[in-house]
């Protein structure tokens, strides 16, 4: 089987991942809706996943792809917990705008 990476070039994948990663980062920085922020974090994780897969292929090594499964499981668990927290917050203050969370400061 022909290696896709050799056709396109690993650097392109890296750039793409970095761009995705940065989109995630900027999303987190500029959005105040908690759900959207969760999604941005997912983008970040997935950019990393993509990078892992790309390198896995590049190195002809399956470990990277196995790692991605771990990551996905972890991310799922993380989001589950995150959403649970979000629900309790919504119950308490009736909003998911994180700018309203300013009780703790100083």
């Amino acid at each position: 089987m022909e290696n896709v990476i050799e056709i396109i070039g690993i650097d392109k994948y890296i750039y793409l991942s970095i761009i995705l990663f940065c989109i995630g980062v900027f999303g987190i920085l500029y959005r105040r809706n908690a759900i959207v922020m969760f999604m941005c974090i997912e983008i970040m994780l997935n950019s990393a996943n993509m990078l892992l897969v790309a390198f896995s292929t590049f190195h002809q090594d399956a470990e990277g792809q196995v790692f991605v499964f771990f990551t996905m499981a972890v991310a799922a668990a993380e989001v589950a917990v995150g959403l649970a927290i979000l629900v309790t917050i919504y119950r308490n203050i009736g909003s998911i705008d994180i700018d309203k969370l300013k009780n703790l400061k100083g």
Partner: protein, 628 residues
Amino acid sequence: MDTNVILLLLLVPLLGSLVNIFFGKKLGNGSGIIATLAVLISFIVTVVAFVQVNGTKTPIQGNLFEWIAVEKFSISFGFLLDQLSLLWLLFVTGIGTLIHLYSTSYMKGDENYGKYFGYLNLFIFFMIILVAGSNLLITFIGWEGVGLCSYLLIGFWHKNQDYNDAAKKAFIMNRIGDLGFLIGVFILAFLFHSLDYMTIKTALMSGTNHQINTWIGCAALAIFIGAIGKSAQIPLYTWLPDAMAGPTPVSALIHAATMVTAGIFLITRLNFVFDLAPLVQDTIAIVGAFTALFAASIGLVQNDIKKVLAYSTVSQLGLMFMAIGFGAYEVAVFHVITHAFFKACLFLGSGSVIHAMGGEQDMRRMGGLDKYMKVTYITFLIATAAISGFPFLSGFFSKDEILMVAFEHNKALYIIGSIASIMTAFYMFRLVFLTFKKGFRGTQEQKNHLHESPISMTLPLIVLAVLSIFGGLISWPGSSWLNQYLQPVIVKSAANHPHALGFEAYMLMGVATVGFLIGLIWAFRKYIQKAQVPQEDDKITGFHKVLYNKYYIDEIYDKLFVKPIYIIATFFRDVVEVALSGAVFGLGKIADELSLQGKKAQNGNIGLYLFAFVFGICLLLYYLFIAR
């Protein structure tokens, strides 16, 4: 044997002092007796030792134990009874005994009777240490110790804050001198690696290292400063008149006869050092002469009987210093001794008067006392004649010798000294006339109280008066026993090249007599013939006022030294301390302020936290990967 003599000499007054201080209250009148006996024993021991030394010509020496050891030498608790110290001890313990005796009556009824004798004995103890010490540091113990006793006794009536001020002033002014003394000690230690009189003397005699001469000069100057403090010379003399706040016998003993002459003793002791410092000697002579004149001029117009005597003391001490300045140590010592006799007599006499007057010291309130107190009057008159230079009394010879020496060395100082002598004659007779002659000017109550003092007070007066008359015999012009006696301790002794009495000497004696007469007649005309009484304080004007206020020296010192120190102290306390504290703890304030600002920055906004996070990452990555 030698050590025992020394111990006996020292410990008896110390014991007396301790007994009186601790058990004075229980002893009652006994404490006076104990104290007097203690000094008497010392006196007897001194006489025995004197006889021995005078016979064998070898000093008595003894080291008790090592006291202080420094790297290059050690200082032992050692004593040296040679001709000089024995001479001093003789009149210290002798006059001391008389004054103790006198005090038993004078102080009777005082609530701290026992303590008074305790202090007085302690004074004798320290004076003995001062005089008998075999090295400079032992002398220094005595030196400071007598200062302490002086402080205690001036402020003896401690309820009166003015007296306490006087005591404090005396102590502090003395301490200025003491610092000088100590500095002198350090220089000598630096030069000779010893503080022992004998060792220093030997070292100086054997080697003539000219390089050290400057340092010798410095040492001499420093020690002279010490002497200035103790012997009340310009500029540190102001404490002595104030010291009259103490009981009168104290003034007689400490502030006239003994302690204040310690300066002369010290310089005489170190004559071999001073001989090498001609510049310092000149300074001494000049300071002495000016002190003599200055103090005498103030004495002219004082109305407090003790103040007059005090200024007279300062003036006489000035004359002694003048003599020392000319290198005539024996002459100074001679005057010290005669002065001790007549000045003690004068003070005790004035004490007798004050006793009779019920504490009144202002001569304007006295007068005509000769009728009530014959013994006091006569002895007082004798002593006055002696101090004024009535021919063939003790003062005549000693003062004349000083003037003679001055005439030889420096005519200007001779004139100053002579003027001071004339003034002395004037104010002393003014004192006698105002106190004892004419009518009584005090209150009726005082008049009824007037009486002659008891025998324990008059006896010392009589003894001292006799000594004032015949004291001059120890150094009869032309054939001085004193010069011979002191020859071993004084390097450039006058006994080595005696000179016969020539025309010059007789002429000077004549001049002195004339001077005495001028003073006497001046006083006589003013206070007997014209029957003047000094004006009340508020009427005094002009130069008279300046004199009466002692040239405002106290006020000037106050403005120049005391006040500025207080101002600086306040400044340090209120400004510098606060600033220093602020400088150190200001850092704390900065941290505190930063903390406050930091708290504001931490505003609880997740967005900010994330931003800081990302910013931190970017900075780190930039620094690590892009910047280089």
